[in-house]
Amino acid sequence: MFRSIFRLAQTSSRAIQVAAGKNQARVSAVTAPAVRKYSSVTVYPSDEEQDAAWVSYFENKDMDTYDFILGFMQIYREDLIPEPKIIQSALYACRRLDNLPLAMRVLEMVKNKCGPRKDIYDYLMQELKPTFDDLGLKTVEDYGLDQVAD
């Protein structure tokens, strides 16, 4: 019985990627819930499962700008810095939406999330360098977006 519940939890924690057309079922924003509570057992999806769920959420081809915002804001609200692969899939989702300012804003938000931790930010930029070269993006400092405009 416990095994079947575990399997149910694992399949549910994977992202609900199916969006049968824009007018029908939307891509769900609630992809990897933090906890699944059953009467007999509480299941916490592991970090890798959550990462994989977010990556597959952003790789969905039927995604809308609104879906992107819902998903990425959920990441932004959490008290953590997303993995490079999540940011990478988000940037490619922006590319699919033909939205360059959104990608720049994503990078700004990531920099904001890093806060005082320059080492994490440098690591993220280093991991995302191939993505930048592929998409034609630059870092926030190169754009001059970390300077205050007067």
Binding site: Y76, R95, G144, L145
Partner: protein, 177 residues
């Protein structure tokens, strides 16, 4: 050149926008243009540190060279120059996240207004008491009057437990030691 124009434009449009327009709606707000509104400007545009991703961009309709730039965005982003990328950014958003985090000097305005109000109230006090109102009666201003009042209270033995009569030594006609 276009980017600097757009930066100037965003200050005119975004920072002068009345707050009540955006506060009524949620963060995911966009309204089709109402009657008499410019359909090219999104009046429900709202971005902040808490909600940095607006659903619709700041400018919705484009003419001329901005339209061609938008078409170019659909192609390879490597073909866009740095200035064009900043143009696209300024068309979409009104301020960068660094602008949102910058220090503000609102406290100076608040302090100034408070000083003005305090100064006005002080002037009003002076004007009323010197020009309009009657002077205070003698019972309030004259210290001799207070002495007479206390003497009367002692003579009448008023408040003999906790008042002046309790502190007066009646045999020796002086204050109790």
């Amino acid at each position: 050149m276009a980017s600097s124009l757009l930066r100037v434009a965003f200050y005119r449009v975004a920072l002068r926008r009345p707050l009540h327009v955006t506060a009524a709606n949620g963060i995911y707000s966009y309204h089709p243009p109402r009657v008499g509104e410019d359909p090219n400007i999104n009046m429900d545009f709202h971005e902040s540190l808490i909600t940095p991703l607006p659903v619709f961009p700041r400018t919705i309709g484009f003419e001329g060279e901005l339209k061609t730039l938008k078409e170019k965005e659909k192609g390879d982003w490597k073909s866009l120059s740095a200035e064009e990328q900043m143009d696209l950014y300024n068309m979409y958003f009104s301020m960068s996240m660094a602008d949102m985090c910058r220090e503000k000097d609102d406290w100076k305005s608040v302090l100034g207004v408070i000083s003005l109000v305090v100064a006005f109230s002080l002037w009003l006090h002076y004007f009323l008491h010197t020009q309009l109102l009657q002077p205070y009666p003698e019972s309030c201003t004259n210290p001799e009057w207070a002495h007479e009042v206390i003497k009367k209270q002692i003579q009448f033995r008023a408040n003999p437990i906790t008042g002046y009569a309790s502190m007066w030594d009646y045999e020796n006609n002086c204050w109790k030691k």
